[in-house]
Structure formats: C-alpha cells, structure tokens
C-alpha cells in the first residue's frame, strides 16, 4: 500500500512538472511582446523598473527582460545572434561589437526606422557615439542607451589639504607626482586606483588609453604588431610602476567595482576610470559626495586620451518583431526617457553621454554640475578612428575593433597583471605578448 502511495506521488509530481514545462518554447512570448537581453548595469535596472508602467502602458507591447552580468551577456548575445536563433529581438551591444556584428549580417540596419520616426531626433546623438555605432557600409546598426568616456576623479579635499591643485587637463607625469604626494594623506589612503584585474575590458581599457597617449599602438596601419615596441613598453612600465608604488591594495585583482569601493571608502585619493563612475560617487548615499573634483583624461603626446564606450540597443536580424523592437529602442534611447528617469528617479540617474540635448537640460546640469560638462567634453573629444599618434588599421580607442581582440587583450592583460603582482617583469610580459599579437596581425596581413 505504501509503495502505491509513493507511486501516486511520483506520477502527480511528473504530471505537474510536465504541465509547468509547457511554459517553455524558443523565442517565446505573444505577438505583442518582445524579448530584450541586457547587461545588468544600474541604468538597465532602472529601465526594467520603468518599462511596464510607461512603455507597455502606452504601446501595449510587453517587454520580457533577461539581465545578465557583462561577460555572461556577451556570451549569450554572441551565441544567439551568431546562430540567428531569434530568441531575443533586442540586445545591449557596445560600440566594440556593433561594427563586427553588422559586418556579419546579424543586425537590422536602423536608418529607415529613425528616418520615419520624427520624434527620435537622430541628429541629437553625439557625433563620436553615432560614428562608433555606424558600420563600414555607412548604416547605423545600434542606438545608444548611454555613453561614457574616461576621466580622472580625485578627492578635492585631500588635494586641498596638501596644497595641491589638479590641472584641468593634466599630464600623466603630473598625476604620478600628485599620487606620490597624496599617498598616505589619510590613514590607509593610497595615491591612485588603476585597474589591475585581467580582462580586455578591465585592465586593458585604461592601459590602452595610456599606451595611445605615450605614442604606442597595438598594430600599425599595415598590421605590424607593436606590443613590445618602445612606446608600448614605456607606457606599460609607467602604469605598472605607478600602481605598484602608489596604487590601491590588491591591485592585481582590482577592476571597476573594486576601485569604486576604494574611492567610496576613502582608500584612494584619485581614480582614472569611466565617466559613468562619477554619478555613483556623487549619488545621495555616497560618503564622498561633494568632495570630488574631475579632470580630463591625462595625456602625454596626444591632445586627448579619453576612451569612448557606449551600451546600445541592436535589433537581431532574425527578429520577427523588428517594428515593435524599434518602438522599444526609440523609447529607451529617446529624449522622453531621459526626462522620465529625471522626474521619477532623479536627474543624476539619467542614462547620459549620448545626446547633446541632455547637456542643455538645466535640471540635469544642476544635478550633475560637478562632472556633467567634463563628461560631455571627454565624450566629444574622443576620436575612435584616430586615438593615437599614428594611423590605425581599424577603429577603437581602448580596444582594437576586431573579433580576436577579446581573447588577445585578455591574454596580454593576464601577463601585465602578473607584472603588477610582481611575479614577472613588464619586458618579459610584453615580449611574450608580442608573439600573440603577431599571430593575429599575420591573419590580417594575409601571410
């Protein structure tokens, strides 16, 4: 009798499971819904909160969001888009992926959509951002959700106490000198936070901007690898020496999040990183709110060295709901959404860095008065096609716009991170990296 009871229970559970399983189905959702895959950044979390009450209410289109961490979302997007599985209609892609995906035919061109959408105002998108989302065929394949550049954030109060002044556009040598002087200005405080965590998007992003301004490059115009060239070495030695001498504790593991923590908790006096960090440091619950100053990305030989990055919305070519997908993109990247965020969540949370009109809104300027103008100047001054002192084979400031760069950049960053940890030298790290870069260069030289 007892085992019959077990059998009955098992059958019931199985039936229930099968019933639940009916909920599945590739590219699911009703005709009036779209599937959106996003990176889990704070701006996207806000979008998720606002979509149902605003976008869905106005258009009747339900948005099914999937949010994942950055590395996972990249894997998932490339998996879905490369196989054109069509599970997702819209995904957040960056200006690194957009030209590559467009060339592979995985994205829907958006020119016809924004031409017909009078309220969208494509001309309002900041020129470097628009350019970076345009493919080789001259068509636009993604619309920005927010844009960012890089600049130097520093503790004004700490520098003031030491009688130091940060120039508006400092050189790297000036930054290194100030880092040495403010190192230990408060108990446990180091001079500067610079990323040391391996990853093409972690350590390699700020370091490549330093390489650019020191006169170095990954590749020459005719695809000669330059990773162990004197300029690349000089820049990397400068970076590694600075972070080892006056950088944060645990530098080989420190990425954006760790540096944000260090800056918030007063463990570093300066930080060179993404402009998007300024909004987090100046947020209402931040202990360092109001104590910060902002300067342009430090330079050596170039006029500017700031990077350019944007998270943008691309529509998958295989999407059967491209019209509805555009309505969502138009809403999320539009001026109206910025106003919606400003009024509902606060003007410091506006997904900025993409439209020139943002920087003319008095409410926004009042909320981000300490960094808004510097951030806009950094983005406007970024030159994705001409970031250094020599011509480049492909565009990209803090990355090289080829599919191989994610792997190459990550491998090289592991070696440089080891140099920051002290387990190898910069010379050895870059000599080994040169061989890796040369393999990639060969492929593009065609020999």
């Amino acid at each position: 009798m007892k085992s019959f009871r077990y059998g009955g229970l098992a059958a019931a559970v199985l039936l229930a499971t099968t019933a639940c399983a009916g909920a599945g189905g590739g590219g699911g959702g009703s005709d009036n819904s779209i599937n959106v895959l996003m990176v889990n950044n704070p701006q996207m979390q806000d979008l998720q909160k606002l979509a149902a009450e605003n976008f869905t209410k106005d258009t009747g289109i339900t948005v099914n969001f999937t949010v994942l961490p950055e590395n996972d979302v990249r894997d998932k997007i490339s998996q879905d888009f490369s196989s054109q599985a069509g599970q997702y209609d819209v995904a957040t892609i960056s200006n690194y992926e957009t030209p590559i995906y467009a060339k592979n035919g995985w994205l829907t061109p958006l020119d016809d959509y924004f031409a017909k959408d009078t309220g969208f105002d494509q001309d309002d998108i900041l020129e470097p951002i628009r350019q970076s989302l345009t493919a080789a065929d001259g068509k636009v394949y993604a619309e920005p959700f927010y844009g960012e550049s890089s600049f130097l954030m520093y503790r004004k109060d700490v520098l003031d106490a030491k009688g130091l002044t940060m120039p508006e556009k400092p050189t790297w040598q000036q930054v290194a000198d100030i880092a040495a002087q403010v190192d230990g200005a408060q108990p446990g405080m180091k001079g500067i936070c610079l990323r040391g965590q391996p990853g093409w998007g972690q350590l390699m992003a700020p370091l490549t901007t330093v390489v650019n301004t020191f006169g170095g490059t990954w590749f020459t115009k005719d695809w000669q690898a330059q990773v162990n060239a004197p300029e690349f070495k000089e820049a990397t030695k400068f970076y590694v020496d600075l972070v080892r001498a006056h950088g944060e504790a645990g530098a080989p593991q420190a990425g954006f999040a760790e540096c944000l923590n260090n800056m918030t908790q007063g463990k570093v006096a300066m930080w060179y990183d993404a402009t998007v960090a300024a909004g987090l440091l100046e947020a209402d619950d931040s202990p360092v709110k109001g104590k910060l100053g902002f300067a342009q990305a430090p330079v050596v030989e170039t006029e500017s060295s700031a990077w350019l990055y944007t998270w943008a919305f691309g529509i998958q070519k295989a999407s059967k709901k491209a019209d509805n997908a555009w309505k969502f993109v138009s809403w999320a990247s539009g001026k109206g959404y910025e106003e919606l965020v400003g009024k509902n969540l606060g003007w410091s949370k506006v997904p900025d860095g993409k439209r020139s009109s943002t920087y003319q809104r008095p409410e926004y300027l009042a909320a981000g008065s300490s960094f808004a103008k510097q951030a806009e100047a950094a983005i406007a001054g970024a030159k994705p096609t001409d970031p250094g002192v020599q011509e480049r084979p492909v565009s990209g400031i803090q990355f090289v716009g080829i599919p191989e760069f994610t792997d190459l950049g990550t491998q090289v960053s592991q070696k440089i991170s080891a140099a920051i940890a002290g387990s190898t030298t910069v010379d050895a790290a870059l000599d080994e990296s040169q061989a890796l870069a040369e393999t990639v260069a060969k492929k593009y030289r065609g020999n």
Binding site: A10, A21, G28, P42, P69, E70, Y88, Q265, V276, L280
Partner: protein
C-alpha cells in the same frame, strides 16, 4: 584523546560552515557595508537586499528550477531502480560491462557536449524550454543514480529474497514488500543527490534557456553587475536559492544518514 578529536570535529564543522554564515551575514548588510574591506561584522542589520530580491519577481525561475529538478529526479528514479535491480539482484549477462558503460558516459567533459546539444535544441525548437532541461538533467544524473542504487540494492541480503520466494512472493510483491523498505534510505539519498545536482546546474541552463525557462542559478547570476555594488543582493539571492536544497536535506536527514552509511558496518 577523544576530547581533542571532538574539538577537531567542531573546528572542521565551523570551517565548512563559515562561508555559509558569511553569506547570510553579508546578505543582512547594506550594499556599502557589505563591500567594506576588511568586512565589518558589526554593521547594522537590514533586510533591504531580501526585499530587493523578492521585488524582482523571482518566482518564475524558482518554479522552473523546481520543475526541472523534481521532474528529472522522478524520471531518474523510474529508470535507475529497474536498471540497478538488473545489475545487482537479478544480474543480467555481462553486468559489469554494462555498469562500466554507464560510467563511461560521464567521462566526456560536460562542456564538450555543449555546442551539439545547443544545436539540437535550436533545430528541434526546444531552446528556452524546461522539458528539454528535464530530459538533459535526467540523462546527466542517470549513470550516477544507477551506480548508487546498484550499490544500495546489492546490500539487500539474498536470504530475505530467498525467504520471500519460498513464501510464494512474485516479482512485484518482492519489490514492493521486501526490496523497497530495505532500499528506501538508498532511494532517498539518491533522490537528494540528483535533486541537488539538477537544482545547482548552471552551465546548460545558462546556454539553453532565455526568457521563460531560466532557472534559479541563472537568475542568481543576474544580480552581479560590473558597475555598482551587488554583494549583499547576490548573497540574499543565494540564501533564498539555497533554501529548497537545505529543506530537502533536513526532510530526508534520517533516511540520508542511513542511506549514506549503508554497508559501512556490514
């Protein structure tokens, strides 16, 4: 001597429990407190992270995980028990080869099968479908379950089976009245292990699911962000996601201890 061993056992126990305790503690702090280094034990307690977790509507992924785990565990048992019976009590020909064959299916690294399985799911329209995960988890856990159940059934004394046969019991009666009660702790232990493996599986779930069939581990990773603080929220989510496994473990505790120590004192 026994006191020293007792102390060592306590120390080992606490050492293994420390990460879990840390996770619970971090989940009860605010994000800035959770991110402090060195970590602060005395920071004020808040349930904000739990509120944020439940506000984010975690029920669909939790139900998906439950469906995939229970469904696959039931299927595994339905298939593994008869297979184990045929490999231990009424042994089939070349039973040891069969047993090794089952085990050999676990020798291929899981990740090596990822792409073919993804393509099969895509071509059959089974991407983002829980049924596909149920089938997958069943096949992944079946070899282990067969091995476990075989060793449990091998413990059933031949004398009881002979006595049942002498009393005129048929196959079904023997299985129901003789084998099942003896093997129940083993079945409980096997079920729990299969349930835990399915519940915690991330690799396939991440690749094969999307909008509707995402499981709890995939949902859990969604709290990690590269911009901003997330430790407290991830810990709160991890605590909640761990609960079903803990509950299942406690519920089956007696049977589990019997099952896992079966044969130890033969």
């Amino acid at each position: 001597m026994s006191r020293i061993l007792g102390l060592a056992a306590w120390f080992a126990g606490l050492l293994f429990f420390a990460p879990v305790a840390w996770m619970v503690l971090t989940s009860l702090h605010s994000e800035p407190d959770a991110a402090t280094n060195p970590p602060s034990l005395a920071a004020p307690v808040t349930f904000d992270s739990y509120a944020a977790f439940f506000d984010s509507d975690p029920w669909p992924p939790l139900i998906n995980s439950l469906s995939a785990s229970i469904g696959s565990t039931v299927l595994v048992l339905l298939l593994a028990i008869p297979a184990a019976y045929a490999l231990s009590i009424k042994k089939v020909e070349k039973w040891s080869d069969v047993l090794f064959f089952f085990l050999s299916t676990k020798m291929l690294p899981v990740v090596a099968g990822l792409l073919p399985i993804y393509l099969v799911a895509q071509y059959t329209g089974m991407l983002d479908n829980i049924s596909f995960l149920v089938v997958l988890y069943t096949s992944m856990n079946l070899p282990i379950a067969v091995w476990l159940m075989r060793s449990f059934l091998a413990e059933v004394p031949g004398e009881i089976l002979e006595a049942a046969a002498l009393d005129g019991a048929g196959l079904v009666t023997t299985l129901r009245r003789v084998v099942a009660p003896v093997a129940m702790p083993g079945i409980a232990a096997t079920s729990l292990i299969c349930f835990i493996f399915s519940w915690n599986e991330l690799l396939f779930a991440r690749v094969l699911t999307g909008v509707v069939a995402g499981t709890a581990p995939v949902y859990l990773t969604g709290f990690v962000t590269s911009q901003g603080l997330f430790l407290a929220k991830v810990c709160a989510a991890a605590v909640v996601v761990s609960l079903p496994v803990l509950v299942a473990g406690f519920a089956a505790q007696d049977k589990l201890v019997q099952g896992l120590s079966l044969g130890a004192v033969k």
